[in-house]
């Protein structure tokens, strides 16, 4: 319980910082980077629910991200649809495709599932890349509109976009938080620990896994749709495998299967890679070893390592106090025995 409260506090502080961030800096570039990081975080939360909490590592995540982005882009540019209608439709399209792909891919398990979804992700990329007449192929799609006005609020400045994305990020965190801390969340964790055991205690693993898969693709689609209208240009490379591995790296560094992991990992890595921009692709020579060490020594990432550290310390303290109590009791008995003798 104390852990949970602590995690909650960390998130509360981060939210507060996120809200005042545009006032601290007037630099549009920084706001741009931060907005982009928030979009990634939304996608990472989707991945976390599936890979972190349910134990199914999907490598098709960037594919669903791209489906969300392209759905929105095509509906707004080619079909000239109202922005928010297109937005909702994009989420529905991604989730329905997620449902269909989930139905098939969840027949596999563990690394077979990872390999299968890797292929699915690559096929999605290929379809986008080669379907020239619909997606524009390698040229991509341009002229995607900014998010439509909601009443008097317009979304054509970096700051207003920042707040829009922040709103969706907070929505994502709230939903994921509530799912994780509910009986459904416990069900998913039980599936991750042992699917056989979960099934013997009466959990319909097939249905639960499918539900998580669809939610996970929903968040990937949400992130994709926001990305498309924020960058306003998309190419097939947003569905490429490297994006999946970027998202996975954010998740692993931050802490897979933890609530604060996606935020910590994504923001940290996005900023670090911005700072190391001058190194170009040689950045990976720094990331690689750090990631390897992290996986070896802190398999649950920064956040998980912190939680474990706290839990251990708490347990030590408890043992210590138990020990003290015992010693006090023993010494009390001894003194009473001694006094009895004397008496």
């Amino acid at each position: 319980m104390a852990n949970l409260l602590k995690q909650r506090n960390v998130i509360a502080v981060l939210i507060l910082f996120a809200i005042v961030f545009p006032f601290i800096t007037n630099n549009n570039y920084l706001i741009h980077i931060m907005t982009l990081a928030f979009i990634w975080i939304i996608a990472v939360y989707g991945l976390n629910l599936l890979a972190g909490y349910t134990g199914y590592l999907s490598l098709a995540h960037a594919g669903f991200f791209a489906i969300g982005a392209y759905s929105l882009a095509l509906l707004t540019t080619k079909a000239q649809m109202n922005y928010w209608l297109a937005f909702v439709l994009a989420l529905i399209i991604t989730s329905v495709l997620g449902l269909l792909i989930g139905l098939i891919s969840l027949r596999t398990k563990e690394h077979f599932f990872a390999i299968y979804t890797l292929c699915v992700g690559y096929i999605i990329y290929l379809v986008i890349d080669k379907w020239d007449s619909l997606t524009g192929g390698v040229r991509g799609l341009i002229g995607i509109p900014s998010p439509g006005n909601i009443g008097p609020i317009e979304f054509n400045t970096p700051v207003s976009n920042y707040y829009l994305v922040l709103f969706f990020l907070l929505f994502t965190i709230l939903v994921v938080y509530r799912i994780v801390h509910s009986l459904s969340g416990r069900t998913y964790i039980a599936i991750r620990n042992s699917e056989d055991l979960a099934q013997t205690i009466g959990i319909n693993t097939t249905r639960n896994k499918l539900v998580v898969f669809v939610i996970s693709t929903f968040f990937a689609g949400l992130a994709g749709a926001l990305y498309a209208s924020f960058i306003r240009f998309i190419g097939p490379d947003i569905g490429y495998i490297t994006i999946t591995f970027d998202l996975l790296t954010y998740l692993i560094v931050g802490g897979i299967g933890t609530l604060s992991g996606p935020v910590i990992g994504t923001i940290l890595l996005v900023w670090v890679s911005q700072q190391l921009q001058f190194l170009q692709d040689y950045r990976m020579m720094i990331f690689g070893p750090i990631l390897t060490l992290l996986v070896i020594f802190y398999p649950r990432g920064i956040s998980g390592g912190f939680i474990d550290f706290r839990a251990k310390r708490k347990e030590k303290k408890q043992n210590q106090s138990n020990l003290n109590q015992n010693q006090q009791m023993i010494s009390a008995q001894e003194t009473s025995a001694a006094s009895n003798k004397n008496g």
Binding site: I179, S182, L183, D196, I201, I203, A311
Partner: protein
Amino acid sequence: MFLETKNLTKKFGGNTAVNNVDFTIEQGKINAIIGPNGAGKSTFFNLVSGFHPPTSGQVIFKGKDITHLPSNKIAELGVARTFQTTNLFDQATVLDNVIVGHRLRTKSNLLDAILRTKRLKQEEKQCRDKAIEVLEFVGLTDVAYKLAGSLSQEEKKRVAFALGLATSPEIIFLDEPAAGVNPDETEGLAELMEKMVRNGITVCLIEHKMSMIMKLADKIMVLSYGEKIAEGTPEEIQNNEAVIKAYLGGSAIA
């Protein structure tokens, strides 16, 4: 008939793991299945609990044919089981690990979770109360808030029992519950099984520790090479020539 199998057979390719086994489990008793390694005991459990579909034969629970039900549906009907090793979530507390055991008796779904409905809160409390109740039953109240990773082997066995009991079963299948624990602890686990029976839960277990089985069981079935070679009370089994032959590989009269 409480739970019975009729001509239950399971073939893995050319290998017949369970061959034509008829067995009735008596309600309110401790039923045991023994047999040499590879006799098909665990496979028999897997068939009854719906883990593997049998090649032929039937499993009937309280007059209902459950042969082809998936294991989660069988659990809902009141049949629990434990595994030889229980994978717990080591980074969570014992209580957190057990709470999910009562999930099958609740109805709240994802929408309840996202909207934090009254039903969810009620059912969460219901699951927590049940977990506390079964942890007390198995004698683990003291470690309820400890991390599951820090438990001893015997405590882990008790958590596995608790998880099974949290599903509110009428019958519980225990797969080698006393494997890897010392004699004193074995005694404690045996007492716990007797307590389950006193509380109206039928027990069926696989075990290798003969002294324990002979003291504990009301009824024993002996499997060897997938076939039932004997069935009866501990006394009958101890004097059964086929059983002695299967275990010692020779004749009863040396």
